[in-house]
C-alpha cells in the first residue's frame, strides 16, 4: 500500500532577505526514489536540511510518517543523510563510522555487528572495518557514507549531491549502485542534485525546483516529455530553443516567425498574435536527412560539425537564417552525414513544447 512517508506543508524559509524555500508542498511515498532537481541556489539543499531537522522552517509543517516533526531536533527524527563531502568521522574507523547510528539508537552489540557485516557486503567492502577514512579513496569514502546512512534503516534517506565529488567513471557506476541499495532496502530516498542526467537515470519521481518554488512535480518521463513551463523544458534534457513572435493563429497550431523562418508550434495558453513564444524541441526529437518527406516543420541547413558522444552523435547544423541548432542521432542511424553537407532538419508540431512565459 502506498503511503506518504515525508510530507511538507507550505514550508517557507528565509535567510535574512533571501527566500530560500517559498511555500512548498511535497509528498514522498514509501519505497520511491525521489529526486529534487534544480540549479545552484534553487533551495534544494535547504529543503533537504529542513526535512533532516538541520534548519527550522519559518512557516509550514514537516511530517514524517504522519507525525509533526517540524520542531524536533535532528536526533529525534530517525532519518539518515549522505553529504557531498562524505563527512566521515576522521578519528573513527570505517566500522565505528558505520555503526554510529546504531549506537546512538541503543542497539545491542551483536545487532550492531550483524548490521555491520550485512552493510559491508552490500557496499562490497568486506574487510574494511579497521581502516580510517584518510586511507580510503573517494569512491570508497562515499560508499562508507552510504553504508552509514543505510545501516540504521532510517524512515527516509536523504542524499545531497553525493556523487558530485567523484570522477565521471565512478559516478556512472555509483548511480547504478545507489539505485540498487534503494531497491534492496525499500525505504524512500530523497536525492538532491543539479545534474539532470543523474536525476533522470535514478529516480522514479522528480521535483523541479527553481528560486525556492517547485516548478513541476511528477513521474520523470512525464516531466521529460511534457514539461509544463519553459524552465522545465529547458532544464531537463537538452533542447533547441526557438524564440519568436506569433504571426498567425491556425486551427491547431501557432505560426511563429523565427528570424524570417516560419515555424509551426503547438498551441499554448494565452497566446495572441504579436506575443513572444518560446519553443523547445529536444535534440533527439528532430529528424535529419537529405530529403525529408511529410514532416510538418522542415528547414534547410549546412552541417557545421559532428560531435561523437558514444551512443549518439550531436550534429551542429547552421540554418539559412544563421541560427545554429543541435540534432542528436543514434549512432546506428543509416544516414551518412559529413561536414559542409546540405541537409534538411525537421520535426512534427507536437514534438515541440511552446510557452509564452
Amino acid at each position: 500500500m502506498e503511503k506518504t512517508v515525508v510530507r511538507l506543508e507550505q514550508v517557507r524559509k528565509t535567510f535574512g532577505r533571501v527566500v530560500a524555500v517559498d511555500r512548498i508542498d511535497l509528498g514522498v511515498k514509501t519505497g520511491e526514489f525521489f529526486a529534487v532537481l534544480g540549479p545552484s541556489g534553487s533551495g534544494k539543499t535547504t529543503l533537504l536540511r529542513i526535512i533532516a531537522g538541520l534548519e527550522t522552517p519559518d512557516q509550514g509543517r514537516v511530517l514524517i510518517e504522519d507525525e509533526d516533526v517540524t520542531l524536533y531536533p535532528p536526533y529525534e527524527r530517525y532519518t539518515g543523510m549522505v553529504f557531498q563531502e562524505f563527512a566521515l568521522f576522521p578519528h573513527k574507523t570505517v566500522a565505528e563510522n558505520i555503526i554510529f547510528p546504531l549506537r546512538m539508537q541503543g542497539h545491542l552489540k551483536d545487532e550492531q555487528e550483524k548490521q555491520l557485516k550485512w552493510v559491508l557486503n552490500l557496499i562490497k567492502l568486506p574487510g574494511y572495518e579497521d581502516r580510517f577514512p584518510h586511507q580510503l579513496s573517494g569512491g570508497e569514502k562515499q560508499r562508507v557514507a552510504l553504508a552509514r546512512g543505510l545501516v540504521s534503516r532510517p524512515k527516509v534517506l536523504m542524499l545531497d549531491e553525493p556523487l558530485a565529488n567523484l570522477d565521471r567513471e565512478l559516478r556512472k557506476e555509483m548511480e547504478v549502485e545507489v539505485r540498487r541499495f534503494q531497491l534492496e532496502l525499500g525505504i524512500p530516498f530523497i536525492y538532491v542534485t543539479h545534474n539532470q542526467e543523474e536525476a533522470l537515470t535514478m529516480s522514479d519521481r522528480l521535483a523541479l525546483i527553481k528560486d525556492g518554488s517547485l516548478v513541476q512535480v511528477g513521474d520523470k518521463l512525464e516531466i521529460y516529455n511534457h514539461p509544463k513551463t519553459s524552465f522545465a523544458a529547458g532544464f531537463v534534457g537538452s533542447s533547441n530553443l526557438f524564440e519568436g513572435e506569433i504571426v498567425e493563429i491556425e486551427d491547431d497550431a501557432f505560426v511563429m516567425d523565427y528570424k524570417d523562418l516560419k515555424i509551426r508550434t503547438p498551441k499554448c495558453e494565452g497566446g495572441q498574435k504579436g506575443d513572444t513564444v518560446k519553443l523547445f524541441v529536444k535534440t533527439e526529437h528532430m529528424e535529419l536527412g537529405k530529403q525529408l518527406k511529410g514532416i510538418e516543420n522542415t528547414m534547410e541547413g549546412i552541417v557545421r560539425d559532428s560531435i561523437f558522444k558514444g551512443q549518439y552523435v550531436d550534429h551542429i547544423i547552421e540554418l539559412k537564417n544563421k541560427a545554429v541548432i543541435t540534432v542528436s542521432r543514434n549512432i546506428s542511424d543509416r544516414v551518412q552525414i559529413k561536414r559542409e553537407d546540405m541537409v534538411q532538419v525537421g520535426w512534427n508540431i507536437q514534438a515541440g513544447h511552446a510557452f509564452t512565459d
Partner: protein, 269 residues
Amino acid sequence: MRTRAVRGLIWQEIMLVLLYVFLYFPIFYIIYLSCARNSVWPFPPDFTLDWYRRLWIMSDFHVGLGNSILISAGTAVIAMILSMMGAWGLMKYRFRYKGFFISVYLLPMFIAHILIGVSTLMFNRNVLHIQANIYSAIVANATYGISFGFLIILAQLIRYNWQLDEVAAVFGAKPWRSFVEVTLPNIWPALFGAFLVSFILAFNNFDVSFYNLGATPTLPTVTWGTLRHGIEPELYALSSLIIAFVLLTLGVLYFLIRFGWVRIGIPEK
C-alpha cells in the same frame, strides 16, 4: 644572483641566532648562578647545590608553591571552560553582533595586568567588601586566561569540519553525546593548550595576584618580597626550577606534535 640571495638569508639567520642568544643568555645565566657559590662573580665556576637546599627549607617556599599551583589550576579550569564555550558558540552559530562578543573576550588582552589587579582589589574591597583571598586571585587571573584560551581554541575551531556535528545529529547523537564522541576527539589539543597557557601565565603572574592575595603567598609574591631585601641566590634556584618546568612541558608538547601523537586539527585531504 645566487650569492645575493644567500647573503640576504645569512643576515637574517644571524639576526635569529642573536635573538636566541639574547633571550636565553639571561635564562641560562640564572641556572648557572643557581649552582654557583659566589653569585656576584661566579668565575671560576664553583658548583654547589646549596641554594636549592636552602630554597627547599625556605619557609614560604612550600606554601607559595602550593598556592601558586592551586591558583593556576583554578584559573586554568575556569578559563578553559568559559573560553571553550564562547569560542564554540561564536563559531557554530550565525547571529548578529559577533564583533561585540569578540571584543569582550579579547578585552583583557588590552588591559595592563596591574590595572586588572588594582581594579579587582578596589572592587572587592570597597564594593563587595570581601578581603583578598585565594579565590579572588583565581577569579582575577581567569580574566586574561579567557582571552588566551579563546584565541587558542578559535584557531583550532576555524579548521573544524562542522558537517561532522550535523551528521552526528542526523544519525541520532544528542548534543552532549555528539560533543564527547565527535568534537572532543578532534579539538582536545586546543583545550589542553588553553589550559596549559592559562596555568603557566597564572603561575608566573605577579601584578594580578599581588593585589588580590593579601598575605597569602605565591611564588612570585614570595620572590618579590625577597627581592626587596636584595637578591638572594635561592631565588635563582627557584627560577631555575620554573624554567626547567616550562622548558620540559614545552619540549614534551613539541615532541608530541612533531611525532604525530597529537594531531592539531584534522589532517588536510
